[in-house]
């Protein structure tokens, strides 16, 4: 659905990203791994329309595209769920679900909300993905971090996302809560959505990923499909690869 060839991004004289080749296919999870400053967020920003790329080509559905606004990306069904910009904690789950895209009974400004419909749909959509909230009316702040992330993802899916970009969805979560989110990522994939999963945790990536890209200092250092790479290799690449081996030599201590 998205095909990037030789994508690069410079901020003035600084090259944040160079020569990235990446494909996002429907029904697959593409994991983008990398340490802090590796260029992960720059890559997301290009795909979600926050910043245009400065070299290379990006094709969406085969057509060459340069995004100049997030709206353009959204209109093509590319939705991004940011780690912090997910929800309004004091508002009910269903209000959060429909925030910004509310269903109303008419077009005039004081038209009533279709509250019953929205509650039913929000509940159904969450259940479909295996999230059951005790009460769809509870403030979303009372849900766990993982569940909140899931609601944000479910919302993007419901509003027509074909490509879902998840920015470090498990970074702030414990093991159990990460499990909730990862299960949900798998569910979205099974629905035929192309998922881009940004993380610095190779274990999480390996659980759901079909394709792995490791970034380092703005360049790709690994590009492999699931069958051709092991978790150990992935972990090693993430941890620093050859550099780490050298470091291990240097810091070697007697057993």
């Amino acid at each position: 659905m998205i095909e990037m060839t030789g994508i690069g991004k410079s901020y003035g004289p600084i090259r944040a990203l160079r020569d990235i080749d990446l494909r996002v296919n429907a029904g697959e999870v593409t994991c983008v791994l990398g340490d802090n400053g590796a260029g992960k967020s720059t890559l997301i920003k290009i795909m979600s329309g926050l910043h245009p790329h400065t070299s290379g080509t990006m094709r969406v559905d085969g057509r060459e595209t340069v995004f100049t606004s997030p709206r353009q990306a959204l209109d093509l069904g590319i939705a991004t769920v940011y780690q912090d910009l997910a929800v309004v904690p004091l508002m009910e789950v269903w209000r959060n679900f429909f925030l910004g895209s509310e269903l109303t009974g008419g077009r005039f400004p004081l038209a009533g909300l279709r509250i019953r419909d929205m509650r039913r749909i929000a509940d159904e959509e969450l259940r479909k993905m295996g999230i059951t909230v005790a009460d769809i009316d509870q403030p979303i702040g009372t849900l766990s971090g993982g569940q909140r992330q899931c609601v944000a993802i479910a919302r993007a899916v419901y509003f027509g996302a074909r490509v879902l970009i998840l920015d470090e969805p498990t970074a702030a979560l414990g093991v159990r809560q990460s499990g909730v989110v990862l299960r949900y990522v798998a569910a979205a994939r099974d629905q035929g959505i192309g998922v881009v999963f940004i993380t610095h945790n190779p274990h999480h990536a390996y659980l759901v990923g079909d394709h792995f890209v490791v970034l380092k200092l703005g360049a790709m250092v690994l590009d492999a499909r699931r069958g051709s790479v092991s978790l150990d290799r992935l972990t090693a690449e993430m941890a620093g690869g050859a550099e780490l081996t050298e470091l291990a030599e240097e810091l070697r201590r007697p057993a």
Binding site: V88, L99, G100, P109, A111, G141, T142, S144, G145, R155
Partner: protein, 325 residues
């Protein structure tokens, strides 16, 4: 947990308290007087409460009430024009001030507390300065013999009798505005946006909520209802003291906070704010009916405010406590 629960309990306690200690409080007459007193604060407080739910303050809300009346009365008196022209002019003036407040807050990112503190002082000074220039004194001239006084008075300052008691129309307007605000907040898209921009403006923007438009709209609502009460004051009393209205901005904020509105935004409702205004009305008159020194009134309001803030803090903790996954 509903935001107005704490206020409702407090209102009941205060009501029973004054029934017990102030014999003059125990009449239908006293009750409608309390309602009238509450409505004069409550009408503007509805909008101030909505603005606070949207995460902003308006300290100019007290003096703009006086500005509204002064613009209307002095313009029409000076040029000898029908009062309707002045009323509409005054409305435009108030909306312009509200827009300016909102626009500056959104454009500069400076806290609304500071921006509206500025407009508060500008209006306060201008109220006195312009009135002195036009009339030579610090009160506006009597408008009761200018054309349009009758019809405007019927809208803004009429009263009607229910049995033996006379009720001011502002009480009905107040109830109406509370009802409309409740509808907007709970049942419309705009209401959803108000809670969202107050609760987490960045998240709201990220899902496509027009944050700037929503907040400017709230400032406009405050100045509109400020204008409304300004019209009431003018057509009820015929003349206005140019220094009036100062300090009322805090009464609106107290009514909102006592009614369960969070100072930090994102939580509260219109009914709670109305109960907050009712508590204000009961105590301001109850103290008089009980024969005490009215100076204690502000001390009492201060205590109410502190209690309300503590309750709000507790509610917020309760509402955002994370459940276990």
């Amino acid at each position: 947990m509903r935001p107005e629960v704490g206020a409702l309990v407090a209102a009941a306690v205060i009501f029973v308290f004054f029934l017990a200690v102030a014999p003059a409080f125990r009449s239908a007459d006293a009750f409608v007087t309390v309602l009238y007193q509450s409505s004069t604060i409550g009408i503007v407080a509805v909008a101030v409460g909505m603005l606070m739910i949207g995460g902003e303050f308006d300290l100019s809300a007290g003096v703009i009430v006086t500005s509204a009346g002064l613009v209307n009365s002095m313009f029409c008196w000076y040029f000898g024009i029908n009062l309707w022209v002045g009323a509409i002019l005054s409305l435009l003036f108030c909306l312009a001030v509200g827009f300016l407040n909102g626009y500056l807050v959104m454009r500069t990112g400076i806290p609304s507390f500071l921006i509206t503190l500025g407009t508060f002082f500008v209006l306060q000074g201008a109220n006195l300065g312009v009135t002195k220039l036009v009339t030579g004194s610090v009160s506006s001239t009597d408008v009761s013999r200018i054309d349009g006084f009758g019809s405007l008075g019927a809208i803004f300052a009429s009263s009607f009798a229910i049995g033996p008691v006379v009720v001011w129309g502002t009480v009905v307007w107040w109830i109406l505005f509370v009802a409309v605000a409740t509808w907007i907040l709970r049942r419309t898209r705009g209401g959803n946006w108000i809670y969202a921009v107050g609760g987490a403006a960045d998240s709201a923007r990220a899902v496509g909520v027009p944050v700037v438009r929503t907040k400017i709209g709230l400032f406009l609502a405050v100045s509109f209802l400020g204008w409304f009460v300004g019209m009431h004051n003018l057509y009820r009393f015929n003349t206005l003291q140019a220094g009036g209205g100062v300090g009322n901005e805090f009464l609106y904020i107290i009514a909102a906070v006592v009614g369960g509105t969070l100072l930090t935004g994102g939580f509260g409702n219109a009914l709670g704010v109305a109960i907050g205004a009712f508590i204000f009305g009961m105590t301001s008159l109850g103290i008089v009916y009980a024969g005490w020194d009215p100076n204690w009134f502000r001390a009492f309001l201060g205590v109410m405010l502190l209690l309300a803030v503590l309750v709000n803090l507790y509610v917020r903790r309760l509402a955002t406590r994370e459940a276990r996954a």
